[in-house]
């Protein structure tokens, strides 16, 4: 009996303990298990007021690595020759230069994924923006500005993607463009709309944004040109019109920008590239020593001291090296470089300063481009004189003691292409300019590395087209067909 009692007692104790433990467990568990992140902000609570929204918009800019597009638009073209030490494991974009890239290369994947990342971020903020409360009319205005800005960024990034990855580099309404993404559905596997459908969405975004931002020269929130302004949206429309061969719109939009933002003078021009002047800079992406991607990185590797890409002889020879202010702004010659096996010429445009090498802002829209767009539009509209006038104006702002030239229908075309080549060098336009006009990429023999003999990339070659990245094709079969040859 005694034993039985003890056992009973113990069993009761055990039961009690068990129940006690269970209760303790059940009570404390849910609370204990709900650990909130301390180093990050949960997406459900990140946007609570206008200031939070503004941080979200700044985040979009922070992740816009336009350098990837800049590289894609410059390296496969005829602006560069490859640095002798840019090879092997420490190299950069060699395959892109060699017209031998693979669709798995980062040089091909990065622009695609980065642009869509920025678009996702913009869409995230757009999805939250209407629910964020406002406490004043000032807040409402700010909110409208931010929303317009995000739509503008979304349009801009999509257009960047279109330039690089569209099926047909020359405008073709029926040809496949790239997906236009306006949602944040992580499971979406979009297919490619036709150019017509793509531009419908894009133009809608641009117009909604432009309606709010007007013709402001500076972004109304930041008060400067490091964020999209009304003028930047006009510049974007001018560029889009150029690519869509809508010459009337290109002319009118470029004119609007030109009238609001004068060209930099010969004196101002070098200062732009030293980070000292904002003349004619309609929109630029700011780079600081906290930026992980910097435009100079395309051409020069700071940690290893390697020149990735040097200017091509073909380009250098086009300038009046004495009178053209662009030559000394964009290039430098250091004979000492040859001692370490490098070429003596370097791309100086984004070299930064001592101690801050490669740190320079990324130019996105400049007035010079608007003159060139308008010149091309006028030429296409049959106004050779007007086109010549724009070319002369631009040259006069770049070349000391420039004497005006007169052009005919044949020479104006060459003059515009040549001026675009010289003025917009390394701003990521050249490859697209050749492609949108159906021209071959032709390099000088002297610009080829040893062992290479191929000077011409023609529209019949697969490398004339930039493939949809392999990662996209594998994850999203709907994206097919890939671009010609791929």
């Amino acid at each position: 009996m005694y034993f039985n009692r003890t056992n009973n007692l113990i069993m009761t104790k055990v039961k009690n303990f068990g129940i006690f433990a269970l209760i303790l467990f059940a009570c404390s568990c849910n609370k204990q298990l709900n650990i909130m992140p301390t180093d990050q902000i949960d997406g459900s609570v990140v946007f609570n007021n206008i200031s939070d929204l503004n941080k979200g918009v700044l985040g979009v800019y922070a992740d816009m690595n336009e350098e990837y597009f800049l590289q894609l638009g410059s390296i496969p073209a005829d602006e560069c020759r490859i640095g002798p030490a840019n090879n092997g494991a420490n190299g950069n974009a060699q395959s892109l230069f060699d017209w031998a890239e693979s669709s798995g290369d980062l040089t091909v994947t990065n622009p695609w994924s980065n642009a869509y990342q920025a678009i996702y971020q913009a869409n995230k903020v757009l999805a939250a923006i209407d629910k964020v409360p406002v406490s004043s009319s000032g807040d409402s205005i700010q909110k409208a500005y931010l929303k317009a800005e995000l739509l503008g960024i979304r349009a801009f990034e999509h257009f960047q993607l279109y330039r690089a990855y569209a099926y047909s580099p020359m405008y073709n309404a029926g040809a496949l463009a790239v997906p236009y993404v306006t949602n944040t559905d992580i499971n979406a596997k979009p297919s490619r709309p036709t150019s017509t459908v793509f531009f419908n969405s894009l133009v809608q975004d641009v117009k909604s944004a432009a309606a709010v931002l007007g013709n402001s020269a500076n972004n109304p929130v930041s008060g400067d040109n490091t964020r999209l302004s009304g003028l930047a949206l006009m510049a974007l429309q001018a560029r889009i019109a150029l690519y869509c061969t809508n010459w009337l719109l290109a002319d009118s939009m470029a004119t609007l920008v030109i009238n609001n933002a004068p060209l930099a003078t010969i004196e101002q021009f070098p200062q732009i590239w030293e980070g000292q002047s904002n003349a004619e800079m309609i929109f630029k992406l700011k780079r600081t020593n906290q930026s992980t991607v910097r435009p100079g990185d395309v051409f020069y590797n700071v940690p290893f001291g390697l020149v990735y890409f040097a200017p091509s002889q073909k380009l250098l020879q086009l300038y009046d090296t004495v009178n053209d202010v662009r030559y000394a702004s964009y290039f430098a010659t250091y004979d000492s470089l040859t001692q370490s096996g490098e070429l003596p010429w370097v791309v100086k445009k984004y070299a930064g300063s001592a101690g801050a090498q490669n740190i320079a802002d990324v130019p996105v829209f400049r007035t010079a481009e608007m003159y060139l767009i308008r010149a091309e539009a006028l030429m296409k509209l049959g106004n050779v004189a007007g086109a010549g006038n724009d070319i002369n104006t631009l040259r006069a702002a770049r070349i000391n003691s420039y004497k005006k030239k007169t052009f005919d229908a044949a020479s104006i075309q060459d003059a515009i292409m040549s001026e675009r080549y010289k003025e917009l060098a390394y701003e990521g336009h050249r490859f697209y300019d050749l492609r949108r006009t159906g021209l071959n990429v032709v390099r000088n023999t002297s610009d080829l590395p040893s062992g290479f003999t191929n000077t011409t990339l023609a529209p019949g070659d697969m490398y004339y087209y930039i493939p949809i990245p392999q990662a996209e094709v594998l994850a999203n079969p709907n994206i097919n067909p890939n671009n010609p040859g791929w």
């Binding site: 055990v14 568990c29 941080k55 985040g59 922070a62 869509y116 001291g305």
Partner: protein
């Protein structure tokens, strides 16, 4: 328990009445095996007090020898038996000795996690690691020593960096997203994986590997990858009441083993360059057949002179950038106790320098264990403190898990890469600069530091209170605490220092991280025997919490005289570009709460049934899936106990067992590619644009994120033959992992490359065989041979609707194939007409165009080896002890970057030295060569996916017990000298330093050294 029993036996013998005085007597005795009663042959009986006296038992287990008739202590040791001490009182002439079998015999007590049992009463697949082959191995990280020891375990050692942890898998890869490491439990405390450099393996008493559900089910959500249970050494109260002091010292050298590295020497390189005809390379620039040198006699003479002076240089960069490095260690152990208290104290100093300059491991460790029994309360306190200083080479990280990471950067920052890159005609004294790889590497060695100073403390306190004979209350509390101080500098005026991004004047980085993980386990244990029945039940509740944090900075503008201190940093201003970079976080931060019920029922020694039920709740799972229940059931049948086996002459033991259960891989939450603690949330992190505060999303979030679980069944048999001289074990298992943690590839247009998700199934099934036999067993010589072999078939059954998931550029996962199957464009040789590389397209047609779209999966080529095995040899001859461990791997492949870059005539890679194989490069029409001619772009193809199979003589240990004279015996009770060789010989196809690695891609990993050591162990 064995120890307790032997102590009890000694005590019992002590109590026997002592009568007669000292005079020589003949002592007779018989040695029997405790469990079977069989006579045991070949057991040494020595007398502690009388050096030289002793004998060995004969085939009947009998022995006799002459000794003084006083109280004596007999030391009894036999192979595969637990050594014991037996007291003989004056007057006793006859002594009966019972030995308990050790090793793979049935009554060995195995620590199975929360409980311990005799092997007879376990139902799971449990392997004990032999500590003898670990004892003298000079390896800094414990996991690395497990390879080849236990069937079914694979340890991929990523690099030869001293102290580097390996990738351990048990029974194949069961997870796509990385965490495939087993759970490590040291004295009841889970310890962090990948961080063993500060642990001294000499302090371990037992290492038990739990493989199936019956044994790992108790760990529930953390049991899916198997569990390695370690108990640390404890003290034993000695009969004489004295404290035993033992001292061990070991010295040796780590050697460079470059026998499979076949790079060109100067003559070969120049001859090869003559073929390439690249004017930037001296072999063509100064070649006599170069038309540029034939323009004039002076030009020809100049070229000949230049070529001649270059030919005089022939630098072997392997010898310059690697060296033979010393290793030394000192161990001091004290153990003893009195009455109800026992203690163990050990201290160690290890200094192992690496074969790469400026690398190595230095460790100081102190471990103590105190046990006390007072009435109903038993307390055990274990406290370990250690510091380890690890010096790394540049670009050599601390390897973490997964297929895509590992040390050995493909960049000339990494000195190991420079061994391959540097041209033999460049000199170590030349000026560093772009492309001067050898001199650059030396400059990096001399002007930089990469150091991790670890402080680690693992402690546990166990309190066990006996409430009644059947019921006890148990409480275990413990922690694993680690801090890492990481320091890196580049001197300001060095080649690399002048290229530091901020300011170009060197840098100094210092960061401190800490991780504190504690566990509290408490509950009741009920143990009842009635009649032939035995019941054991445990009801436990557990809290497992991990918190941590880190902060650090990198400063710039370093003062050249103060480069290894933060004092040398220049303060950042708006204008000087020296603004320091700051970093910090408060991770990890997670908690696991559990309720555990364990049940065992045994009928006689014959049948045992076990069951476990565990509910785990994790902060790393989203609210909807926070809790998960895990379970296991197991059964064991000891066939020998059946009446019908009574008269069998074949088996000395025979047991079959089976189990099934559900376990989880909670560690997989930590391996989440987006966020280790909050993989299910959509998270934003701060960043800045134009100096202003901004936020960016970093994870897409997935509210349906869930647990990854394994359903494992196991069937095993253990049998002994010829009186236990032959021991075998066979296991068949089938493990189905479902709800895989995987990166569900998303369209990049969504803004993210993938989403953390649970989908798909992987099956691992296989067979494990262990065979061990005492081939020779007589008085003078015992030779035991062992072999273990495991075959694992890994198949991805489904990927939740996806047809393929590519993990990196080398491997992909797709249904019907093994996890981590290589995929590549197939290389189809070289066109003899043009020297152009040829490929196969997707349909198998030869094409000269390389397009990654033509990459195909390569069935049977995976980086986790299906075949793993080990061969052990243990030989005892008189006073000599020899143990040998051979491990082998079959069916493993890796994509080799060193091979790719050293077999490429591509102009992009002509600046790199090449393998001597490349002398056979295509040169002219009609050449049949496997290597494409100069001028063609090289791409990674099937050619670069190379078999990593090996047979490796991993460890040889020879020791000798020095006979001691009487005088010496007064001070020293034993003296042992030993020699140890590690990683001595490898048979392999691999070209390079070593085929072993933790992942699928071979880069320029720190080479594995060959280590020779010798030492002395003295026991006082």
């Amino acid at each position: 328990m064995i120890n307790c029993r032997s102590i009890a036996l000694s005590l019992l013998l002590l109590v026997l009445p002592a009568m007669l005085k000292a005079a020589d007597k003949m002592l007779h005795g018989k040695v029997k095996e405790k469990q079977t009663g069989h006579a045991v042959e070949g057991v040494f009986i020595t007398v502690k007090e009388v050096p030289g006296a002793g004998a060995m038992s004969d085939s009947l287990g009998a022995f006799e020898f002459s000794v003084p008739d006083t109280a004596l202590t007999l030391n009894i040791s036999g192979i595969n038996y637990k050594p014991i001490q037996v007291m003989v009182k004056a007057g006793d002439n006859n002594v009966s000795i019972e030995l308990s079998a050790e090793g793979h015999q049935m009554n060995e007590v195995v620590v199975t996690g929360y409980t311990k049992q005799t092997r007879n009463k376990t139902t799971g697949s449990i392997s004990s690691v032999s500590m003898s082959s670990i004892e003298n191995s000079p390896v800094g990280s414990l996991d690395v020593m497990l390879q080849g020891q236990v069937p079914g375990i694979y340890v991929g050692t990523p690099t030869g960096q001293p102290g580097e942890a390996g990738r351990v898998t048990l029974r194949g890869l069961g997870s796509i997203n990385g965490d495939t490491n087993p759970l490590y439990i040291l004295d009841g405390v889970p310890i962090a994986p990948y961080s063993y450099a500060a642990l001294n393996p000499d302090d371990f008493e037992s290492v038990t590997v739990l493989k199936d559900a019956a044994s790992t089910g108790q760990y529930g959500s953390r049991g899916a990858n198997g569990v390695i249970v370690i108990t640390s050494k404890k003290g034993k109260p000695n009969s004489d009441g004295k404290t035993h002091v033992s001292f061990k010292t070991q010295m040796g050298v780590s050697e460079v083993n470059a026998s499979h590295v076949n790079l060109m020497n100067t003559d070969q390189a120049l001859a090869y360059q003559d073929v390439l005809k690249n004017p930037a390379l001296p072999g063509w620039e100064y070649a006599a057949d170069n038309p540029a040198n034939q323009v004039s006699a002076t030009a020809a003479a100049h070229a000949a002179h230049e070529l001649d002076s270059i030919k005089k240089i022939n630098t072997n960069w392997t010898k310059v950038l690697l060296h033979n490095a010393p290793t030394q260690s000192y161990d001091l152990n004290l153990d003893g106790g009195k009455g109800n208290t026992a203690f163990y104290i050990s201290g160690q100093y290890l200094n192992q320098q690496g074969i790469a300059l400026n690398s190595g491991l230095k460790r100081y460790s102190l471990n103590t264990k105190i046990e006390n029994t007072s009435g109903r309360l038993k307390s055990t306190l274990t406290l370990g403190l250690a510091t380890a200083t690890i010096n790394f080479i540049q670009d050599e990280g601390v390897a973490t898990s997964g297929a895509t990471v590992g040390g050995g950067g493909i960049s000339s920052l990494n000195p190991i890469a420079s061994i391959y890159y540097a041209m033999p005609y460049t000199t170590p004294t030349s000026t560093p600069g772009p492309g001067n790889f050898g001199a650059d590497a030396l400059s990096i060695y001399n002007n930089s530091l990469r150091q991790d100073k670890q402080f680690k403390s693992i402690a546990s306190l166990n309190e066990s209170y006996t409430i009644t004979d059947n019921l006890s209350l148990n409480l275990t509390m413990g922690y694993d605490y680690q801090t890492d101080q990481f320091t890196q500098y580049f001197t300001p005026d060095s080649y690399l220092g002048m290229q530091q991004a901020n300011g170009q004047q060197g840098s100094y980085q210092d960061s401190l991280s800490h991780r504190f993980a504690y566990v509290i386990t408490g509950g009741l244990r009920y143990d009842k025997q009635w009649g032939k029945n035995e019941l054991e039940a445990n009801l436990l509740t557990e809290e497992d919490r991990t918190i941590g944090g880190a902060f650090g900075y990198t400063g710039y503008g370093i003062n050249g005289q103060l480069y290894n201190t933060p004092a040398g940093i220049t303060q950042g201003t708006q204008t000087n570009n020296f603004i320091p970079v700051l970093s910090g976080n408060t991770a990890p931060n997670n908690i696991l709460l559990s309720e555990i019920a364990l049940l065992r029922y045994s009928f006689q020694e014959k049948y045992t049934l076990t069951g476990s039920l565990r509910e785990d709740g994790s902060s790393q799972a989203p609210v909807a899936n926070r809790y998960k229940t895990f379970y296991s059931v197991g059964g064991g049948w000891n066939v020998m106990q059946e009446d019908f086996m009574k008269h069998n002459k074949i088996f000395s033991y025979l047991r079959v067992r089976g189990s099934y259960g559900l376990t989880g891989n909670a560690g997989g939450f930590m391996a989440d590619a987006y966020s280790p603690d909050f993989g299910y949330r959509n998270l934003y992190v701060p960043t800045n644009y134009n100096g202003l505060n901004a936020v960016v999303p970093v994870t897409p979030g997935n509210p349906n994120y869930n647990w990854e679980v394994s359903h494992q069944s196991d069937l095993g048999a253990e049998a002994g033959f010829l009186k236990g001289r032959v021991r075998t074990e066979l296991d068949l298992y089938n493990r189905l992992t479902t709800g895989l943690f995987l990166n569900q590839n998303t369209s990049l247009t969504t803004g993210f490359p993938f989403i953390s998700d649970n989908a798909g199934t992987i099956r691992n099934r296989g067979v494990e065989i262990m065979l061990q036999g005492d081939v020779i067993k007589n008085k003078a010589l015992t030779l035991t041979l062992g072999a273990n072999l495991a075959y694992n078939q890994n198949t991805v059954m489904s990927l939740g609707g996806q047809s393929e998931i590519f993990t990196d550029q080398a491997t992909m996962n797709l249904p019907g194939y093994a996890l981590g199957t290589f995929y590549a464009v197939r290389f189809a040789g070289v066109d003899p007409k043009t020297g152009a590389p040829l490929y196969l397209d997707k349909n198998g047609n030869v094409t000269s165009v390389y397009n990654v779209a033509n990459a195909v999966p390569m069935k049977g080529k995976t980086y986790d080896p299906p075949w793993k095995g080990g061969v052990t040899l243990s030989l005892k001859y008189k006073r000599f002890d020899v143990s040998v461990l051979v491990s082998l791997i079959r069916g493993m492949y890796r994509m080799s970057y060193p091979y790719f870059y050293s077999h490429s005539a591509d102009p992009n890679n002509q600046q790199y030295n090449q393998s001597a194989d490349m002398l056979a490069v295509w040169q002219k029409v009609g050449d049949k060569s496997p290597f494409a001619g100069a001028g063609y772009t090289s791409y990674l193809t099937s050619q670069d996916i190379i078999s990593s199979d090996y047979i490796k003589l991993r460890n040889v240990n020879i020791s000798y017990n020095v006979p001691l004279r009487d005088k010496a015996m007064r001070y020293v009770s034993s003296l042992q000298v030993f020699a140890n060789g590690q990683n001595l010989l490898t048979i392999m196809k691999w070209q390079g330093f070593d085929p072993e690695d933790a992942n699928d891609i071979a880069q320029y990993e720190y080479p594995m050294p060959r280590i020779f050591t010798g030492g002395v162990k003295i026991v006082f």
